[in-house]
């Protein structure tokens, strides 16, 4: 063990670096879903579509900026703009027109509404953006690379991967924690997450909280997509890929817990990076292994509180 460690310390360091940046991506993908699940108790399958649409909108804005010869730094705020646009436009529409209509139905019906929405949005993306991969990598090129020493060697990382993605994730985490703890709207969200009935009895307008949360969740999903768009290629089906991952995060994290999503994302990010370095065949199943392991030890999820019913 000792020998292995000393031999691989450098590699472990590199893996940790990769793991952190991947964890940031996973966190951005899952945190919005986690928030929405906490309040609405719906596993929003269309979350993946919102991720994809956020990415497509960001890429379109980026391509527009490049093609018009506008300054390249604009492509960075464009990522944020894409997220806000998607969240503000699609979030309320979906919540008001669809989810609200089924809020009294059984959970499985609510879930299937989002599944239907996912199928519709999947084809809609194809109609709007075609099937060829779309990418706008202006932000990555703008920021260039950073050389990380590796023994006698150096490993170039893009500044975007090393700083922007984890930075945005960290800001999102801190911002959300602050928002949920310190602001009235945030505390209402927490109250509804913890006990919907009690929150209602306290006079909290659950409908408004739901709308707010869902729109915020949609914007977060879109921000995740927007952040991924400069490096990833957006193709049909990219949404479907992100859904399962974010589902796994939600179940592992414990319902509606932002900190839980962060810790789970770290576990998955580091787990995946170490898998790529030392046991590549495990890479794909890492999120599921982590989920099963966590739920074996903590059946209510990492940060979940066991539900005790009054009888």
């Amino acid at each position: 063990m000792q020998a292995w460690l000393s031999e691989n310390t450098l590699l472990l360091g590199l893996a940790a670096l990769d793991g952190l940046s991947y964890a940031a991506t996973v966190f951005m993908v899952a945190v919005g879903l986690n928030l929405v699940f906490g309040v609405l108790r719906i596993l929003n399958v269309a979350h993946g579509s919102l991720f994809a649409i956020g990415g497509y909108v960001a890429a379109s804005l980026g391509l527009f900026i490049t093609s018009r010869g506008l300054p390249a730094w604009l492509s960075l705020p464009a990522l944020l703009l894409a997220a806000v646009l998607t969240g503000a436009l699609l979030g309320p529409v979906i919540e008001r027109l669809l989810l609200r209509r089924v809020e009294k139905q059984e959970p499985v019906l609510q879930l299937l509404v989002t599944f239907a929405l996912f199928m519709i949005l999947e084809d809609l993306q194809k109609l709007l953006w075609g099937v060829q991969p779309v990418v706008s990598d202006a932000p990555v090129r703008l920021l260039g690379t950073v050389d990380v020493p590796f023994g006698a060697d150096v490993i170039p990382f893009t500044a975007y991967q090393l700083f922007v993605v984890p930075g945005v994730a960290l800001l999102t985490l801190l911002g959300l924690v602050w928002f949920l703890r310190r602001t009235l709207a945030g505390r209402m969200i927490v109250a509804v997450t913890e006990d919907r009935e009690a929150a209602r009895a306290m006079g909290i307008d659950a409908a408004r909280v739901t709308l707010l949360t869902f729109s915020a969740g949609a914007a977060l999903a879109a921000l995740g997509g927007a952040l991924a768009s400069p490096t990833a290629s957006l193709v049909p089906g990219v949404g479907a890929q992100t859904i399962v991952l974010s589902f796994a995060v939600v179940a592992t994290a414990g319902l509606g817990r932002v900190e839980g999503a962060a810790v789970t994302a770290l576990l998955i990010g580091l787990g995946r990076a170490f898998a790529v370095y030392f046991e590549p065949e495990l890479e794909v199943v890492i999120p599921y292994i982590i989920m099963v392991a966590v739920l074996l030890i903590r059946p209510q999820g990492l940060f979940g509180v066991p539900e005790t019913r009054r009888i």
């Binding site: 239907a116 929405l117 194809k126 939600v250 179940a251 999120p287 989920m291």
Partner: protein, 313 residues
């Protein structure tokens, strides 16, 4: 409904399926697939009774389909292979069930999903044996000792699917009416009471879970033997999602729902694909949305309302 009337309805429905398959040959295959999926959906429905949604029942579908694919080389007889594959799935259901029945709601759903995704990965990773996503072809099998031509084989599989559908629908009705089945429904409304009546909710759920794995496995074996080519996509989460989709489309209120839903689903899909190859997904999405918004009881409830209305008129 009187028993005689039910028997007539079931026979009529079976006759109708056979008639459609006769008049429209290419639908024979589609209908067999629909019934196979209906069997798996029956398993979903059973767990829905306990208020639990499994997003991983494709695991049992795929497991049995692959068991049939590998087993066909050793036991090339449909009527032996099929029960063996289905029992294999039930056994797997028992092992997995011992673990997952401790969980409820999202955790139950997601653990099922995780396990089926792990199986999906296994099918891809053990590439040398399974040929990964290319899948494997089922060698020909005999039917009751007879070597059948392609046409006869198609009819045999459809008939077998019909018989199995009727049998499992009947079995499930008996199960649901029994104390065990009623206790299962009790898990949905008041699980704690079961414990205070000296019953183990987990064991009740486990019995249903194994039965549902058996039904999904039966469906998977029929599916594999009908398509004669199995791929890991059978275990992917979207397949599980499709099963839940069908359950709701057909309606959770009756054991006829899954078959009604599966046939409607497959037909919608093939006709949507034939009309607009580009946007069949969108059409299916809208169909599902309309059903949930305007007829949450599914096709079964629509049908019953119509038949009830007609009887009064």
């Amino acid at each position: 409904m009187s028993r005689a009337r039910e028997v007539v309805l079931v026979l009529g429905a079976a006759g109708l399926v056979l008639a459609i398959a006769w008049f429209v040959p290419w639908l024979r295959f589609v209908l067999t697939i629909a019934l196979a999926k209906g069997l798996a959906v029956l398993g979903i429905l059973l767990l829905l009774r306990a208020g639990q949604v499994s997003f991983g029942h494709a695991l049992y579908l795929a497991f049995a389909a692959y068991a049939a694919a590998f087993g066909a080389a050793l036991v090339p007889e449909t009527l032996i292979l099929l029960p063996l594959a289905a029992l294999g799935a039930a056994l797997l259901g028992l092992v997995v069930g011992l673990f997952v029945v401790r969980y409820r709601e999202i955790f139950f759903g997601m653990l099922n999903l995780a396990l089926s995704m792990v199986f999906y990965s296994v099918l891809e990773k053990f590439y040398a044996i399974t040929h990964g996503t290319d899948g494997i072809r089922l060698p020909p099998t005999t039917f009751a000792g007879q070597v059948l031509g392609a046409e006869a084989q198609g009819w045999a599989m459809l008939s077998l699917a019909l018989v199995l559908s009727a049998f499992f629908a009947w079995l499930m009705r008996i199960y649901l009416a029994s104390p065990l089945g009623q206790a299962l429904a009790g898990i949905k409304t008041r699980e704690a009471r079961l414990e205070f009546m000296g019953m183990s909710a987990r064991r009740v759920l486990l019995s249903a879970y194994v039965l549902s794995a058996l039904m999904a496995g039966t469906g998977g074996a029929v599916l594999g033997m009908t398509t004669r080519h199995v791929t890991p996509a059978l275990a992917y989460w979207t397949t599980s999602g499709e099963l839940v989709f069908i359950a709701i489309l057909g309606g959770a209120g009756s054991v006829a729902g899954p078959f009604l839903g599966a046939i409607a689903y497959e037909l919608t899909r093939v006709y949507a694909a034939a009309l607009v190859a580009d946007a069949w997904q969108m059409i299916l999405g809208f169909v599902l949305l309309l059903v949930i918004l305007f007829a949450p009881g599914g096709l079964w409830a629509i049908g019953r309302a119509l038949m009830g209305g007609r009887r009064q008129a």
